[in-house]
């Protein structure tokens, strides 16, 4: 039964739902089969009982009728004691197959006449039994008195077949047939009807499978109904949409991170390379200095090598730090009213060694009238220098480079054009990103970290301006334009920059330098002594305290990272001394994080400087001390 039904089910519904062990269709089918079968059995059982009762009633009624007819027919025979006629009449029952046997008894209760069907399987009693209708096994027996015109003439006894099992068999056959037909009809009907129910579910399940299988979140289930399934489909679709959006965002973030990571990797490799390059000449210079047979000319040459290489390294590191500051938003501009021409001149001066080396020709086309800007002169010079250096790097030796300044509306325009390798159009948008270097330009590269343009852009943006790159294509040169907002303020004489080389005369200060790195401490002390200050040096915190108590310095330059007592603790102790009320405490750290600055402030420091110490910064500090 079960397997045949399954086969029929397979035939009706070809299995489509892979991976679904118990499909909705199957369950619905079983519901239909189960309910239909149960209903059929119940209805069939009830009908069976009723029909059996009816069968019994009808058989009994038939037998009673038979008895009545026979009574009428045999009454005269009984009345006139005519056994032959009575027997003849009973023999007429041959035409009634249902009647198995019949007997007549006279008023004495004795057998008067009899009839038995077939070979007389039923033995008739010689004596009459009690009147009434009895069902015994598969027979119905009826014993009934015969009266005519109010006169009792005798008793009739009839036996009729009561074929319950036959009736049951017939009934079971009919029931089975009806059940099979009903089931078939129910299955066909439910197949047709359940499509409306399962089709949207199937569609959604298919979409779900595809989504899981292919990770394709752009798929959507179609909503065909307004019922609960429709609601589920809608929710499912909106969840897919959510997943799709998030996946997209994640992928975008991932690829951005991967790109940035890759650039950083390249950058680190480049950085290592760039930092290593000046080391070789420095090492040679160091050996040369150790040689006793060094002529003054050779000594001078060695000194120049060291100067060049260290300043190159310093430039690299400055760029790096500036880039980092810009990225962190930690770079502060020191704005002033400046003449653009001054910055251009400084930049041209800075780029001159490179241009000379590569025999580039530089033409500077300045605007007729002076262009006055409110800008950080150092940073502005840095921007122009970066552009010039960039042009010089990516132009073959003997190239033409022109620098032009002009006024365009409210902007000052600085453009640097070269006859270099040019730019592919697709490279332009990424040009100003950190660590990006033009691919394939490596062979021409003059080194560098690939942060020059990014730095330039960051600085320009800080000034409220914009930077653009233009190129007619690879091999056709390129042009970089910087637009800076012009100050409308009346032009005043731009303030002279604090000069780097010259140490200006200042009033003598008592200074204490504390650093566990003796070279660093001594170097800084030497520089300050040259500037004319009284300098004490200590190499650890406890020494520093005693020296400070003795000398009571006005300026204290304290290293933070020292063994034993660190710079913060030292600063706190010094601040406990009454003499330090007017002293300036400067923290010198390797880290420029906001957190470090905050801690320095808490410990009592007035200022915070990041290693390596720029002598100019110290100079400015001392200058400020003079003024304040």
């Amino acid at each position: 039964m079960t397997s045949s039904v399954r086969r029929i089910a397979r035939w009706l519904w070809p299995v489509k739902a892979q991976g679904v062990r118990h499909s909705m269709r199957g369950k619905l089918m079983w519901v239909v089969v189960f309910t239909t079968t149960t209903a059929l059995l119940l209805a069939g059982g009830a009908t069976l009982l009723r029909d059996l009762d009816r069968y019994r009633t009808s058989q009994s009624a038939e037998l009673l009728t038979e008895a009545d007819i026979l009574s009428l027919a045999t009454a005269p025979a009984l009345a006139f004691d005519d056994r032959e006629t009575a027997t003849r009449i009973l023999t007429g029952l041959r035409t009634r197959p249902a009647v198995l046997a019949a007997a007549l008894y006279d008023t004495q209760g004795s057998l008067f006449a009899q009839y038995a069907r077939g070979n007389g399987a039923i033995l008739l009693a010689e004596r009459v039994g009690p009147p009434g209708l009895r069902v015994i096994a598969n027979r119905i027996e009826l014993t009934k008195t015969i009266a005519d015109k109010g006169e009792w003439l005798g008793t009739i006894y009839l036996v009729s077949a009561y074929d319950v099992s036959g009736a049951l068999r017939d009934y079971a056959r009919i029931l089975a047939l009806v059940a099979v037909l009903s089931l078939a009809v129910a299955l066909v009907l439910s197949t047709l009807l359940q499509r409306a129910l399962t089709a949207p579910l199937d569609a959604m399940a298919n979409v779900a499978r595809q989504v899981i299988g292919q990770r394709d979140y752009s798929l959507r289930a179609s909503k065909t109904t307004q019922d609960e399934v429709g609601v589920v489909v809608e929710a499912f679709n909106s969840m897919l949409g959510e997943v799709q959006d998030r996946t997209r965002a994640l992928e975008a973030t991932n690829s951005a991170l991967a790109e940035s990571d890759k650039r950083k990797d390249i950058f680190i490799a480049t950085l290592a390379h760039e930092l290593r390059n000046p080391l070789a000449p420095l090492r040679i210079a160091g050996r040369l200095l150790a040689s006793p047979a060094l002529t003054p000319a050779q000594l001078e040459e060695t000194r120049a090598i060291i100067g060049r290489q260290t300043s190159h390294m310093a430039l690299l590191l400055d760029d790096l730090l500036d880039a980092s500051r810009i990225t962190r938003g930690a770079l502060q501009l020191k704005k002033d009213v400046v003449d653009l021409a001054d910055c251009v001149a400084a930049a041209v001066e800075a780029a001159k060694p490179l241009f000379d080396r590569k025999r580039h020709r530089l033409s500077v086309l300045a605007a007729a009238e002076p262009i006055v800007l409110e800008a950080d002169p150092v940073r502005l010079t840095q921007i122009i220098t970066n552009l010039l250096t960039n042009a010089g790097k990516y132009t073959d030796p003997g190239g033409e480079i022109s620098l032009r300044t002009q006024v365009q509306d409210r902007f000052a325009l600085v453009s640097v054009r070269d006859s270099g390798i040019g730019l592919a159009p697709e490279a332009i948008p990424k040009l100003f990103e950190m660590f990006s270097q033009v691919q394939g330009a490596g062979t021409r590269s003059e080194g560098g970290l690939g942060i020059g343009l990014a730095l330039a852009k960051g600085l320009v943006t800080l000034h409220g301006g914009r930077i653009e790159a233009h190129s007619e294509g690879l091999g056709r040169g390129s042009e970089f334009r910087v637009y800076l907002p012009r100050t409308v303020r009346a032009s005043g004489a731009p303030e002279g920059n604090p000069d780097d080389g010259e140490v200006k005369s200042a009033s003598t200060r008592r200074v204490l330098v504390v650093d566990d790195n003796r070279d660093a401490a001594d170097g800084l002390a030497l520089f300050l002594r040259i500037a004319g200050h009284e300098v004490a040096v200590a190499y650890n915190a406890s020494d520093a305290l005693s020296v400070a108590d003795r000398t009571q310095p006005q300026l204290l330059l304290l290293d933070i990272g020292m063994p034993g007592m660190n710079g913060y603790e030292l600063a706190r102790r010094i601040r406990d001394r009454p003499w330090s009320a007017h002293s300036v405490l400067v923290a010198i750290t390797g880290w420029g994080q906001e957190e470090d600055k905050r801690r320095a402030g808490q410990a009592g420091f007035d200022q915070h400087m990041t290693k390596p110490i720029d002598p100019a910064a110290i100079q400015t500090l001392l200058h400020d001390l003079d003024r304040g």
Binding site: T107, K149, G150
Partner: protein
């Protein structure tokens, strides 16, 4: 019945007789018509004939135009025992809804006015003469002669297999204007018909 009793062992026979008596008594109690159940009468020929005469009336239809007498009279001639049996039977058993009575006829003239006439074996004389008076009249004539039907009677008792049977003359019934039930005809040992 006697046959059954004699073929059984005495003890069983006695018990059967006792059962039979009980059944007869039960029959008397249950059924108002106690007469046919009376065993003593049943086995005398006169009783049987008396009962049969009574029962014949049930299977015969008298013409309806006949002025209905208030009583149903059976005239008996030549058999006093039958008359006596009837006189005991009829008071309790009306015929066709009428009170039935028996009239003992000693002469032919006494037969006049009865609905049914029975002329027994004790009658000495020509049967034809006796019946001449009732010819063409709605009277059921029952005889007990060898050639009763030929003499003009409608029903005639005969002996067959030690039992009392009867023969019927349809011609006589037609002449008398009587209709005899086919059920009764079915029981007749012979039916005389043209």
């Amino acid at each position: 019945m006697a046959l059954v009793a004699s073929s059984s062992p005495p003890a069983v026979g006695r018990r059967r007789v006792a059962a039979l008596v009980c059944l007869a008594l039960l029959g008397l109690l249950v059924c108002e018509s106690s007469v046919p159940g009376n065993a003593a009468e049943l086995y005398s020929e006169s009783s049987v004939k008396a009962v049969y005469l009574y029962r014949f009336a049930g299977y015969v239809e008298w013409p309806s135009e006949t002025p209905t007498p208030t009583r149903f009279t059976i005239a008996v001639m030549g058999d006093d025992q039958v008359a006596e049996a009837l006189s005991r039977l009829l008071p309790q058993h009306p015929i066709s809804g009428q009170t039935a009575e028996v009239r003992v006829a000693h002469r032919v003239a006494d037969l006049a006015g009865a609905q049914m006439i029975y002329i027994g074996e004790g009658h000495r004389g020509d049967l034809r003469d006796a019946l001449a008076g009732v010819e063409h009249r709605p009277v059921l004539v029952v005889t007990s002669e060898m050639d009763g039907l030929a003499a003009g009677s409608t029903v005639n008792f005969v002996q067959a297999n030690n039992k009392i049977r009867f023969e019927i003359s349809l011609d006589a019934a037609t002449r008398a204007g009587l209709k005899i039930s086919s059920q009764l005809l079915a029981l007749a040992v012979r039916i005389q018909h043209d």
